[in-house]
């Protein structure tokens, strides 16, 4: 443990604000895990993708030739997105893989904290959220990645293009196609209230 603390406590030159790796992991971990979970829709796999992401980051950062990063957060997101895309690609061949059980998922993740005083509304919102997550499986890998980054992370199209290594026009096409496939779920998500009123 002593050696571990020594290594993790080392300031990595590529991290601009002289933070050590350990505290950087702590500050970014939840965000990376949630991104992986949203992309993979499986908490267990997201857990392992998060570990892979930080391990890859560590390997890259500890190389002597690594340069100071302008935006370590964005760089880490890019690693996480690529790790998830790789996993989704290899998942296509895993025909024996069972679908994640939503009850198991809920034991790992507590649902969103209540911001809505009306419990019924919250349950309904959660149900739509789950429906939306299931509907993401209808999307291609790039569509899913673009939609996830826009919907959950509120990234601009330029940022998404940079993260996915695509041009903005292609991101727009992916997002447009994703929206076409998710219109029904998005309608219930955003416009149900208007109809109820």
């Amino acid at each position: 443990m002593g050696v571990m603390a020594e290594r993790l406590g080392t300031d990595l030159q590529a991290l601009p604000d002289t933070r050590d790796f350990g505290s950087w992991v702590t500050s970014e971990q939840k965000r990376v895990f949630l991104l992986c979970r949203r992309m993979l829709q499986d908490a267990e796999e997201a857990d392992s993708a998060t570990q892979d992401t930080f391990f890859k980051a560590w390997q890259a950062l500890s190389r002597p030739e690594s340069k100071v990063l302008d935006d370590p957060g964005k760089w880490l997101t890019r690693i996480a997105v690529n790790t998830c895309l790789d996993r989704l690609r290899s998942r296509r061949w895993q025909f024996w893989r069972k679908r994640p059980n939503s009850e198991d998922e809920n034991t790992i993740l507590a649902l969103a904290p209540s911001k809505n005083p009306n419990a019924e509304d919250e349950v309904f919102a959660n149900q739509i959220g789950e429906r939306l997550e299931r509907a993401l499986q209808k999307l291609s890998l790039r569509q899913r990645a673009a939609f996830t980054l826009r919907h959950y992370e509120d990234r601009s199209l330029g940022e998404i293009a940079e993260l996915l290594d695509l041009d903005v026009g292609t991101v727009k096409v992916h997002l447009f196609r994703a929206l076409e496939k998710l219109r029904e779920e998005l309608h219930d998500l955003y416009f149900r209230e208007r109809k109820n009123k």
Partner: protein, 135 residues
């Protein structure tokens, strides 16, 4: 000018449509835009992740960072196991090919042999006696 449709609002939410003069001037569409902004903030609020889960995950990350060799060994073992399996399969198939029993005679072949025996005037057993006299 017409109000924005639901599709317009959805496209705007996802960055596929910019606001236009109507959406900035029409109070009804403006209200809807503000409502959607707020709704979106609530919908995409980060869910709680239990602290114990994060701590355990961090421990596993640190372990991997600390002993990258273990990870490399695991990958090497996985490759070695796959190669061994492949080798076993190749050896198995080769052995099977080598010791394969002769192919059984088909019914067609059997009938044609029988009919050729039947059609010869002399039985085959006479042939050695013929040979004796010929010498």
């Amino acid at each position: 000018m017409n109000h924005w449709t639901e599709t317009d609002f959805q496209n705007w939410l996802y960055g596929l449509r910019d606001e236009d003069r109507h959406s900035t001037e029409c109070p009804e569409c403006r209200r809807e835009i503000e409502r959607l902004r707020q709704e979106r903030r609530q919908i995409t609020a980060e869910p709680e992740v239990p602290q114990e889960f994060l701590t355990a995950q961090r421990r596993r990350i640190y372990q991997r960072v600390e002993s990258p060799g273990r990870n490399r060994n695991a990958i090497a073992w996985r490759w070695a196991l796959s190669l061994a399996m492949l080798l076993l399969m190749v050896v198995g198939i080769t052995i099977q090919q080598l010791y394969r029993s002769p192919a059984p005679i088909s019914d067609e072949q059997l009938f044609s042999d029988l009919s050729s025996i039947e059609q010869t005037a002399e039985p085959k057993a006479i042939q050695p006696i013929h040979n004796l006299f010929e010498q």
